[in-house]
């Protein structure tokens, strides 16, 4: 799925390039499961979604990444058939979700951003209840095991932890054996171990061949789980790509940083290194498109003077750096 990157930096252009790469990959990976073009949603004064285009292909785990209030949930609820739209084309499993019928719902699983378990029921009973709604449900036992709740199968839902409740939500969305699964902020408010457990469940969906659209405001979650990511800010998609290429991440400069040894000033550095240096407190940060060359220049300079740079750090931009850059000002 990775785009052969042309040397362009503008987010919009990168977006376009990736879309083309996606089309090529799509010939192999299969049909478009979710197709959106020119989607707008207006609430009175507020325009929550301002022209979104995206494609999700069969078997993909697609992350919709953005800060709170960026329009993620609005978009997903339109795709789920819970909300109308102001303008644009939407097709999910070949159907306009605004006219979703029971046959369509039979093929789609939904984990809402906020929903509590059925009061008074045990985990297994919840799954039995929901299994009755579908034409070809999975086995409740197997689905409980899939989300790692087997030890809790007989536990009343009121006694589940937050993470366990969310996994029950996922199990309820899976019980109908859907082709497509929507996960709206599946781990918001989780502690780290609960998040890891939830990630395992989502990663397990890949082996089942499910197509997954998940929303999140955690970069690491998108990076860990998704084949492709779309970053949404203020109702627009500002970048789209794989976790490696998103926002031109693979082409952004690396940073080389170290603490200046006592008595050494930045002016002591060779001129070409000085030109890329910026002070950050005690540290000096060099920005470089060719980190190997510049690390070597730096090493030669330091060794010749008998200097050690014990905290030398060479770093690629993280997805977080890219994300913060993309969503800045929104």
């Amino acid at each position: 799925m990775s785009a052969t990157a042309p040397s362009i930096h503008a987010a919009a252009a990168a977006n376009l390039a990736d879309d083309r790469a996606g089309d090529r990959a799509g010939d192999r990976a299969g049909e478009v499961v979710i197709g959106v073009s020119g989607l707008h949603k207006r609430y009175d004064e507020l325009e929550a979604v301002r022209g979104i285009d995206l494609k999700v292909r069969r078997g993909e785990i697609f992350a919709f990444l953005g800060p709170n209030g960026a329009g993620k949930t609005t978009t997903v609820e339109i795709l789920e058939g819970f909300r109308g739209r102001s303008a644009g084309q939407v097709s999910v499993l070949g159907v306009d979700p605004a006219h979703a019928d029971r046959h369509w719902r039979d093929r789609v699983g939904v984990v809402l951003q906020e929903s509590q378990p059925e009061p008074g029921l045990r985990v297994r009973e919840c799954l039995q209840l929901y299994a009755g709604y579908y034409t070809h449900p999975r086995q409740p036992e197997e689905t409980i095991a899939l989300v790692g709740l087997r030890p809790q199968a007989e536990v009343p839902t009121e006694r589940l932890s937050g993470g366990q409740r969310r996994r029950l939500d996922v199990a309820l969305a899976l019980i109908g054996d859907p082709e497509l699964l929507f996960l709206d902020e599946p781990t918001t408010g989780f502690d780290p171990s609960a998040r890891r457990a939830a990630w395992q469940v989502v990663a397990g969906l890949r082996t089942l061949g499910k197509t997954v659209l998940l929303t999140t405001h955690y970069m690491d979650e998108a990076e860990h789980l998704a084949d492709r990511i779309a970053v949404i800010a203020a109702g627009r998609i500002v970048a789209q790509g794989t976790p490696q290429t998103l926002g031109g991440r693979d082409r952004l400069p690396a940073t080389i940083s170290f603490t200046l040894p006592t008595g050494v000033t930045p002016q002591a550095l060779p001129a070409d290194l000085q030109a890329r240096a910026e002070r950050d407190g005690d540290r000096l940060v060099l920005t470089s498109q060719h980190p190997l060359v510049h690390v070597r220049r730096l090493a030669d300079w330091a060794l010749a003077r008998g200097l050690d740079l014990p905290d030398l750090d060479v770093r690629r931009p993280s997805l977080e750096d890219v994300y913060l850059h993309l969503t800045r000002g929104n």
Binding site: E80, F82, R102, H103, R105, D106, V108, G109, V110, L112, E114, S115, Q116, P117, E118, P119, G120, L121, E125, Q128, L129, Y130, G132, Y133, Y134, T135, H136, Q139, P156, D169, L172, A173, G176, D177
Partner: protein, 295 residues
């Protein structure tokens, strides 16, 4: 009811014994209409079964819906005695049993339904159910059926206590009248319950709102005390509302002096009218999503 349950059991067996393959279904358009109806009715029973399970495990619901009418019966007879009362000189317990049966039906089909449905809506449970292929009417019918089962069961308990503990005479000929009145009343109050859910935004405000509306109505509608002693204008007010007609219908059907079927058609008619009004409001305004998320 029993028939429906049998049907449901058979359907369940059929489903669980089917091979666990995931072969694509034959197009459902080919399924005969009768088969689809049977499946839908089975699904109503399925829904009702789990709603009942949730009800039985809810202590508050159990107390207000099951225990309270029974406690009232025992306390009323204990406090006021079981002497004859009213202009027709019937045993006091003969009066309390139908009145409290009306209370039980209203508690199950109206009060408990409104509280549980608004709670489920607030917790996102109704929305999640609507994300599945289950038809909306199945969810509503299933919840209504579970409320009717509870209401009729508590009424049966009250009748049994009245008959065996207090010697209330139960006329056999009016059993159709008792059942019909109870069923029509149940349906009417379920419809009104769903209608009221459209006016209540949060589960917290459901309980006080319900008590504020229902307590005065219970007192002027002959649920606790005979309404013949009330001022005329108050009786006129009570006659507008459905509580009085359910209580009156059950009083007549359980009147030891009654003969024939014991059906009071005017009461049933007014209950049906209220049912229609409730249904119309619910159909137009009932929402499945939490109020906060609608913004």
């Amino acid at each position: 009811m029993l028939l429906l349950y049998r049907l449901y059991q058979r359907l369940r067996q059929r489903r669980s014994s089917a091979p666990a393959t995931r072969a694509p279904a034959p197009a459902r358009a080919e399924a005969p209409a009768a088969g689809r109806t049977v499946r839908a009715l089975g699904l109503v029973a399925h829904q009702a079964r789990f709603e009942l399970l949730g009800f039985v495990r809810n202590r508050q619901a159990r107390f207000f819906t099951v225990a309270l009418p029974v406690i009232f019966l025992v306390v009323f007879v204990g406090v006021f005695g079981n002497d004859t009362a009213g202009p027709e000189h019937v045993k006091a317990s003969t009066y309390y049993v139908p009145g409290l049966s009306a209370l039980a039906i209203i508690a199950a089909c109206f009060v408990n339904l409104v509280i549980s449905v608004t709670t489920q809506r607030e917790l996102g449970i109704l929305k999640r159910r609507r994300a599945t292929p289950v038809p909306a009417w199945v969810l509503i019918a299933g919840r209504t059926l579970s409320a009717m089962v509870v209401g009729l069961a508590v009424m049966t308990v009250l009748l049994a206590i009245g008959r065996f503990a207090y010697g209330v005479h139960l006329p056999g000929s009016t059993i159709p009248g008792v059942l019909l009145t109870a069923v029509v009343g149940s349906v009417a109050f379920c419809c009104l319950g769903y209608a009221l859910c459209t006016a209540i935004s949060s589960a917290d405000s459901a309980q006080p709102m319900l008590q504020a509306v229902m307590l005065p109505l219970y007192f002027i509608s002959g649920v606790f005390i005979p309404s013949v002693g009330l001022p005329d204008w108050l009786q006129q007010v009570a006659r507008v509302f459905p509580v009085q007609h359910l209580a009156d219908g059950l009083h007549h059907a359980l009147d030891s002096a009654a003969s024939g079927s014991g059906i009071v058609w005017s009461d049933l008619g007014i209950l049906a009218l209220w049912a229609a009004v409730g249904l119309a409001v619910a159909l137009r305004r009932f929402t499945w999503t939490p109020a906060a998320a609608a913004a």
